[in-house]
Amino acid sequence: MKKKRMSIGFAAPAFVIYTMLLVIPIMMAFYFSLNKWNGFNAMQFIGIENYINVFRDARLGNAVINTLIISVVVIIFVNVLGLFLAMLVNTASVKSNIFRTIFFIPFVLSTVAISFVWKSILSYNGVLNGMLTTFGQEGLIGNWLGSHGSAIVCIIIVEIWRTLGYHMMLYLAALQTVPHELYEACTVDGGNRWNKFRHVTLPLIVPGMTVSFLMSIINELRMYDVVKIMTDGGPGYDTETIVYNIVSQGFSNSMVGYSSAISVVLFLAIGAISVFIVTKMNQKEVEM
């Protein structure tokens, strides 16, 4: 009984903090979403009108498409490349620590700082175009952040560069849980490198893969800072993401009720995707 009380005592602060900083704001956002509110004056209850508008808003639709494009490409790249790099680093010797550090550095650095650095690299008179000029490749000089199409590619590249090390570390942690004896057994059974990967590594790293996929999905669907600094959603609306749209609607347009409705829909979408991924990956884990 005493032990139980003590456990509750330890868990209580975390529960209070979690409730205050997460559960209550989420509930408040839901309440705001049912009101017309500019964030300052009195609220006016409008029922589900904000939710109806969410599905009619063309600019938000464009932000959803941009977010999905960025998310799908980044998720595929960071997971495939992350696993590949983790396998390379895992087989390397003590020197692998250096590579781990090098790959992980971008994730540790401030996103704001690296966004400014990349902005200066990719601006028209920046480092990249300067290097192309130096090497006599003037024909390749591009308006990277200002052209329709190329700006979103720049965002994707920066996001892959920024998060790759983190996903490599997740895979590396998963790889290190695979018992060495299983590889030896596979060798004894005549298995080649592909067989070892397919029948030993892959089934045993599914839990790590689930975490990596989930984290990448959540991170990319919430993307804001890189876009805000590098392009401010531009040119035009070309790189506006869902969260950028939420912030713009809430603070630039003084539509806090409407932006809360978008937030609630995004929250539910991320929740649904997370549940789907975890369920599917758990099934895969059992199948494999």
Partner: protein
């Protein structure tokens, strides 16, 4: 032993919760009596290349020296969207006591307090404005926008004169282009306003207000629309200029500062910009650049001159001190007001007019528009017919779309939809 462990756990947990809750508190000293018995007010500002930290600090230091019982703490707005920054502060309960550029926020009821009569009387009546029948802001300066700066050596080499009509301006652009140089510079990434806003203010606002002098009122009443022949014509001509290659190739990948720097380095012969550029050139004693009033498309002699406003927060606990600060800046010690105005090429709005020694470029800037009528920028008009918050940002993005080839008519149609949406929502 177990009891001690439990107590330690409870104490640590309590400390953890307390430290978290500490972050949730609202401002503590603002507007109240801070340490050493002084009254403290917060002053929300932003900084630019011209209006630097020193300009504000000079203002604050002078005031504190003459009013030792009041301290002023500067709150700096960061980022491109200052209105969004102030709204964030408002939501978090940290809104400064005195805020500059208050005109858009003033459209929301209850944010600013009514300005006392004695303070109102310091300002030129024509610059004061009302929201719901109340004067809640004071005009801090008048700023003339936008004219075309040009590289004198390019004009000299190509025997070009400052254009007086739209057709002459087009000829100047074409001549520069034919000579293998870039006629015009603008900014883009990160500073979305720098793409189309300067051109729109010089050509769009003037064209619309010359044809519809009460455009804001008509727009609000629903008797006029953004989507009219004048708007479409101005933006189509602008898009033609882009398509003809009059603009610098990489302009959209440059911030405003980078664009201004490239212009000064000679990457383009002209740049449409505000009076702050003239003040900047004068402060550098830069004689390499001239400025001419961009000829309007319809030949009308109209210039956009915006007033900017300061407001005192309704939640300010020491409104007397806040208004004392305003009186000090605009009346009691006009030297600090003069420094502020001179830094950015601004003009006074007080009855006791403040003048300063202007440099050559600023003098030319003012001479160019001496005979023109002045109007207020459509989306920055203060008072009852103010455009809804967020419209400026929406238009800036639309200008970028048009610059990148979007259909002008479709874009302008979206202005009306967005205007109505924002108006309904606010």
């Amino acid at each position: 032993m177990k009891k001690r462990k439990a107590l330690t756990a409870i104490a640590l947990s309590a400390a953890l919760v307390a430290s978290c809750l500490a972050g949730c508190g609202k401002k503590t000293e603002t507007g109240s009596t801070a340490d050493s018995g002084k009254t403290k007010i917060t002053f929300g500002v932003f900084e630019t290349d011209n209006i630097t930290s020193e300009v504000w600090q000079n203002m604050i230091d002078s005031f504190e020296k003459d009013h030792p019982d009041i301290t002023v703490e500067k709150v700096l707005a960061t980022g491109d969207d200052r209105q969004a920054f102030w709204k964030t502060m408002l939501s978090s309960g940290s809104f400064p006591d005195v805020v500059i550029e208050a005109e858009q926020l003033a459209t929301m009821e209850g944010i600013f307090t009514e300005v006392p009569q004695d303070v109102q009387e310091l300002f030129d009546d024509t610059t004061l404005c009302q929201y719901n029948g109340k004067c809640i802001t004071v005009p801090s300066f008048k700023q003339y926008k936008m004219q075309c700066y040009y590289n004198k050596s390019v004009f000299k080499d190509l025997n070009l004169e400052e254009p007086q009509t739209w057709d002459e301006f087009m000829n100047v652009c074409q001549t520069i282009k034919d000579a293998g140089q870039t006629p015009l510079m603008c900014g883009g990434t990160g500073d979305i306003w720098a793409t189309g806003e300067p051109f729109w203010i010089a050509e769009g606002d003037t064209a619309l207000l010359s044809k519809y002098p009460d455009f804001n009122k008509e727009l609000k009443e629903g008797t006029n629309k953004w989507n009219n022949d004048t708007t479409v014509d101005v933006l189509t001509k602008w898009q033609d200029m882009v398509n003809k290659g009059y603009y610098y190739d990489g302009a959209m990948s440059l911030s405003y500062s980078q664009a201004a720097e490239e212009f000064k380095k000679g990457s383009a012969a002209m740049m449409v910009d505000g009076s702050w550029q003239a003040a900047g050139l004068d402060s550098e004693s830069n004689e390499d650049f001239g400025v001419f009033a961009l000829p309007t498309m319809d030949g009308s002699k109209i210039t956009v001159a915006d007033c900017s406003y300061w407001g005192v927060s309704e939640t300010c606990e020491n409104k007397d001190a806040a208004f004392q600060f305003i009186k000090y800046v605009f009346d009691e010690n006009q030297d600090v007001y003069k420094t502020y105005l001179q830094a950015d090429g601004l003009y006074s709005t007080t009855k006791k007019a403040v003048t300063y020694d202007q440099g050559n470029v600023t003098t030319k800037f003012i001479d160019n528009i001496a005979d023109n009528d002045t109007v207020q920028e459509i989306v920055k008009l203060p008072g009852e017919n103010a455009a809804p918050s967020g419209m400026q940002s929406f238009m800036d993005k639309s200008f970028q779309n048009i610059f990148n080839g979007a259909d002008v008519k479709t874009e302008v149609e979206s202005w009306d939809t967005e205007y109505q949406r924002l108006l309904d929502a606010q």
